[in-house]
């Protein structure tokens, strides 16, 4: 990383933190959680003013060209406050279109960079048991049919990257969601604040961007950026649990003095640091285009999911009865930890993928087993 970038990143982090603390108040977040398909329009407007969608975009489309590390910084700050913005989807849609090397999309790229348009990643199938296999959306002759599982921001997005199949195998498609043949189904979910919708296509125009390799690159990069969002959430849960453990008294002392509590918190810290190391390694591998970048991303995904799951669950537990109330904040993180763990495929899927990348095969790998 270059020195001037480091300064830029630090100032982006500082700015993001200030804005988010200001905007993402508990009351605001609870309103978003209350209604299915909620999108934080106000926060998105601020993000656009600050130029967040442009951070990772290349200069030729008007971006700041700070790379995936720029995106990672903002994702981590978003994760800390359970903010939800389609920054990863916008960046990766642009990246996929640029990688495909097809012409005629300059305006789309500029709009994704400025934030005039928003994107969604529709990778998972509804039949998946947390395992990604794209059987439910099929393309032929530039038209796509079928359904995709609940995808974040699909309720509001202008375009989507869709994982489908054609007669040659896996494909990644660009789909404009304003076509009348696209149906978006918004339903009561356990994390309503991510503007999620299930998508249904019927002879919908779709632009082929690439095959299995591009699908794999896009889902890896999404997992990488999401790992930073998960790190932010994990860190926030740990801070919140520690604060509560210092303040809440029982049996004549702060509950943080009890080993039952403090060992739990120490365990979360260990998982957080392991996840942070994995994510930093994977980020570096992508920046250097190292050959092990996919494997390191799998590790980062698994470590971040484990850390956030445990932190969110135990933060809720440490808060005792308060933890299961709507009024308290721990459930926001519990919900977000679950949705981030689900959206890009389960830990089991990423373990399988890691083993495949390593040239190993497994039929007995544990599903989940996140604790």
């Amino acid at each position: 990383m270059q020195a001037d970038h480091a300064e830029d990143l630090a100032s982006i982090r500082e700015q993001a933190r200030r804005l988010l603390v200001d905007q993402a108040t508990p009351e605001h977040l609870k309103n978003l959680l209350n209604a299915p398909g909620s999108f934080d329009q106000a926060l998105w407007r601020h993000a656009v003013e600050q130029g967040w969608p442009s951070v990772a975009m290349p200069e030729q489309v008007g971006g700041l060209a700070l790379g995936w590390s720029g995106l990672a910084v903002i994702c981590e700050e978003l994760g800390r406050l359970t903010g939800a913005l389609p920054l990863i989807a916008n960046a990766l849609t642009a990246h996929a279109v640029i990688s495909a090397g097809i012409s005629g999309h300059q305006q789309l790229l500029e709009d994704l960079t400025s934030g005039a348009l928003t994107a969604a990643l529709a990778l998972a199938d509804p039949s998946d048991s947390g395992i990604c296999s794209p059987g439910a959306a099929k393309e032929s002759n530039g038209r796509i049919d079928g359904v995709k599982a609940l995808a974040a921001f699909a309720a509001v997005a202008d375009v989507a990257l869709v994982h489908g199949v054609n007669e040659r195998g896996d494909g990644l498609y660009l789909v404009h969601l304003d076509q009348p043949s696209v149906k978006r189904q918004v339903l009561e979910g356990f994390d309503n604040a991510r503007a999620a919708a299930a998508l249904q296509f019927e002879q919908t125009e779709a632009v082929y961007l690439g095959g299995a390799e591009l699908v794999s690159e896009i889902s890896s990069l999404a997992a990488l950026a999401t790992a930073f969002e998960q790190l932010g959430g994990t860190h926030a849960c740990l801070d919140m649990a520690c604060d509560y453990a210092r303040e809440r008294r029982a049996f004549g002392q702060a509950i943080g003095g009890f080993q039952g509590i403090k060992h739990k918190l120490a365990e979360i810290y260990c998982l957080l640091e392991i996840a942070r190391g994995c994510a930093a390694d994977a980020l570096d591998a992508w920046q250097q285009q190292r050959p092990d970048k996919q494997q390191l991303t799998c590790a980062a995904r698994i470590a971040a999911t484990r850390a956030y799951n445990l932190a969110a669950q135990e933060n809720l537990h440490v808060h005792g009865g308060m933890g299961v109330t709507w009024e308290a904040m721990p459930h926001h993180y519990y919900r977000r930890a679950r949705s981030l763990a689900l959206e890009l495929g389960s830990v089991a899927y990423w373990r399988e993928r890691l083993l495949t990348d390593l040239g190993l095969e497994s039929t007995t790998v544990e599903v989940g087993g996140s604790a």
Binding site: D128, S129, L187, E188, F190, G321, W326, A348, T364
Partner: protein, 399 residues
Amino acid sequence: MHFTQNLEDEQFRQEVRAFIQANLPTDLAERNHRGYHPLREDIRQWTKILNRHGLSGGNWPKQWGGTGWSPVRQFIFDEECLFAGAPPVDTAGFKMIGPVIMTFGSEAMKAEYGPRILNGDVYWGQGFSEPNAGSDLGSLSTRAVCDGDEYVINGRKIWTSFVETAEMIFVLVKTDPEARQRGISMMLVDREAPGVTIRPIHDIGESHSLNEVFFDDVRIPASNLVGEEGKGWTYAKFLLENERAFSAEWPRNNANLARLRTFLNVEQADGQRLIDRAGFAPRLAQLETDLLALRWLSLRALHEKAGGQSRLPMGSLLKIRGSELLQKIGDLQVEALGCYASYVYPDPLANAAVEKAWAPGPDYAPGIMADYFYRRATTIYGGANEVQRTIIARSFLEL
């Protein structure tokens, strides 16, 4: 140890099944298979059916209107009922305050409440926890002052489940604010007594059950004191040990795992069964093992309790194992649902509008997701698991 089931107990199980088949209304069973909180009316209806056959008292001794069954038979009865879809009878009345009244209450109190509990005519709320006294119950500060032949109660209780539809509340109060545990007494309060205010607590689950209860100069007859003044802590420990023994929730764990087992064996849309996928089988096997172990632990605890052999708090063991197993089964249930675990499915019987807006997904999904959030509370309520582990270390290991 002789707590293995014998042939007569298996014969008894057959009789229980026949009884349930003949008496459990099918609509009631269908509603309770869904995984939501059972409806109050269903509980009442089932309790009355049981009472007509002299079975609602279960493990209560015969002279109090119970069946006189051994604890093992009670266990078999509960197991078969829940498995068949019967709602559990009111735990607070039958398993918590009922035995306390029958053991420590006056004859008048037994006569007043025993038959009403048995017939499902009185539901109870448990007024133990306070904002600053949860797992550390000894720190409670709700105060009762004797005034002639009445007590005047002031204070605030929290996490009082289902009190909004209860007739009575049993509360722990300080009658001597100077003493810690010896200053605690147990009293019965009419929910509709002037000065009792109930405020619902919005929880993270999909159905409401938690409340705060405020006592503002609430007057109760002195005869509503359970047993003696200052003995409340002893009665509470008796009650909590009972609560924990049941919080192993073997019947619920058993029913939930049976549903999961079935679901893993069903062919999915892609023609595959989940049980054939990597990882599901070993984890199911682990849960089955844990479930069997919990069964034997529960039976052993009941056996020792019946024989009076053990004064150790087996309830703490059961509570830890049972609550954590419920969460583990829940985790695998949710994983098995894959993408459908992104949705919640509010109870359509609680709100007629919601079924129309339900997400697609297997029939298996609705109850699982509705219960998933609520289940996080299992390691907190009834005394957090950390406190249970401390009790185990102290009582079994003298640490």
